[in-house]
């Protein structure tokens, strides 16, 4: 057992604003190697074979356990397994604790394997990227959120088509792949990373798997988890100001303070529409109020302006 390294207020504010936190090469090489040995391997394709059979072979050879939904996350993986060791890393424990509170609950996991062109050619299967989508189904919860941890156990190049996601889309209420028509958005990111990189995502973020145009099979492991209790004030609060003072807005002569919660919550994404970008700020402030347990909090008067009588 290790002590968690909790997130800072700025990190949590960034998660509220952008819907993700990225930790590059956070998992040591020995755990990555152990995971790859346990995950299951894809056999080389057979000409005329069925594409489904390849994925079935991966599943059949995998030593990652089937885990019932609703299992305490701490009981999901056998002690000593790569995933148990990964979840015990101080930074991983701290990120999960900071976002979900104590005793998080396992929802589901999946090994996403993205195959290079020869696999698709052998099975006469079209090699295309995954449509952009939001996971699960339309989620009417106003503030509470689940976390999806994406684990990249080996280095991912651009040609391998790592996960594509659009920062800041997580607060929009949409229905899974109904938005599949949005092929590209300005500001989209593709996961190009070192081995052992972790991406913690708000469940609502728009994302999809990229097309693999390399010669190598790509593996990514996802774990979805949710809170069992309060998500409020679970991070390292030592850098959290007691009460934010409103600052001058619009007519300002100096740049905003970098790294403050207010600046983070009011920094736009490149894809923001002119009018609804302001509503994004409103919804970020609402989520921050919830997490900070501070119903009077505001950033740059966006909600106060709508609330005073």
């Amino acid at each position: 057992m290790t002590e968690p390294i909790l997130l800072t207020s700025a990190q949590v504010a960034s998660f509220v604003a952008r819907g993700f936190l990225r930790f590059d090469a956070a998992v040591p090489a020995d755990i990555n190697a152990q995971f790859m040995a346990e995950a299951g391997r894809a056999p080389e394709p057979v000409e005329g074979g069925r594409f489904f059979d390849v994925q079935a072979s991966v599943m059949a050879s995998s030593r990652i356990p089937e885990v019932p939904a609703g299992t305490p996350l701490s009981e999901a993986y056998p002690p000593g397994s790569a995933l148990a060791r990964l979840l015990d890393l101080p930074r991983v424990k701290g990120a999960i604790r900071s976002l979900l509170g104590e005793a998080p609950v396992f929802d589901h996991h999946f090994l996403h394997v993205t195959y290079p062109p020869r696999f698709h050619a052998a099975a006469a299967h079209e090699n295309v990227s995954q449509h952009t989508h939001q996971d699960s189904t339309v989620d009417p919860r106003p503030q509470a959120f689940d976390v999806q941890m994406m684990y990249y156990p080996h280095a991912v190049t651009r040609a391998m088509g790592g996960t594509r996601f659009i920062p800041g889309t997580h607060l929009r209420k949409v229905s899974e792949v109904a938005l599949g028509r949005y092929q590209n958005m300005v500001g989209q990111q593709h996961m190009v990373c070192d081995a052992g990189t972790l991406l913690f995502l708000h469940h609502g973020i728009w994302h999809g798997g990229g097309v693999n145009l390399s010669d190598d099979t790509r593996y990514m492991f996802k774990v979805r988890m949710h809170a069992s209790g309060s998500q409020k004030r679970q991070w390292d609060l030592s850098d959290l100001p007691q009460r934010n003072a409103q600052r001058p807005i619009f007519f300002v002569k100096t740049p905003p303070e970098r790294g403050s919660v207010e600046t983070i919550l009011t920094t736009p994404e490149p894809w923001f529409e002119q009018d609804t970008g302001r509503l994004e700020y409103v919804n970020r402030v609402k989520l921050w109020r919830y997490l900070a347990d501070d119903p009077a909090y505001d950033a740059d008067y966006w909600l106060t302006r709508l609330e005073h009588a």
């Binding site: 995954q130 929009r172 949005y182 092929q183 300005v186 009018d275």
Partner: protein
């Protein structure tokens, strides 16, 4: 003469056709090109008007709808969607 349709979908910064492109999709009915999610990080045109000037025909624009009472702050799909087409001759 056989015609095939190319479709361009642009998502703009506001309802004005000359506002910047924020998102896009291309579907090529000729089969000459295949476009897919994540295949480009820069938009094909700076604005909707630039697409018009390049020969794309506007065939549909999203409506401006009033906000439902009580849901004024809720966000969902992108608002400013414009469909364009080109009709292209293909071989016999």
């Amino acid at each position: 003469m056989t015609l095939r349709q190319k479709v361009l979908v642009l998502y703009l910064k506001n309802s004005a056709l000359d506002s910047p492109v924020l998102g896009w999709a291309v579907y090529d009915g000729t089969g000459e090109t295949l476009h897919m999610a994540g295949d480009a990080d820069a938009p094909p045109y700076a604005t909707g008007l630039a697409a018009l000037r390049d020969g794309w025909r506007l065939i549909q624009a999203s409506q401006l709808l009033p906000h439902a009472r009580g849901e004024e702050l809720d966000l969902s799909y992108l608002k400013y969607e414009f469909f364009f087409e080109q009709l292209v001759e293909v071989g016999p």
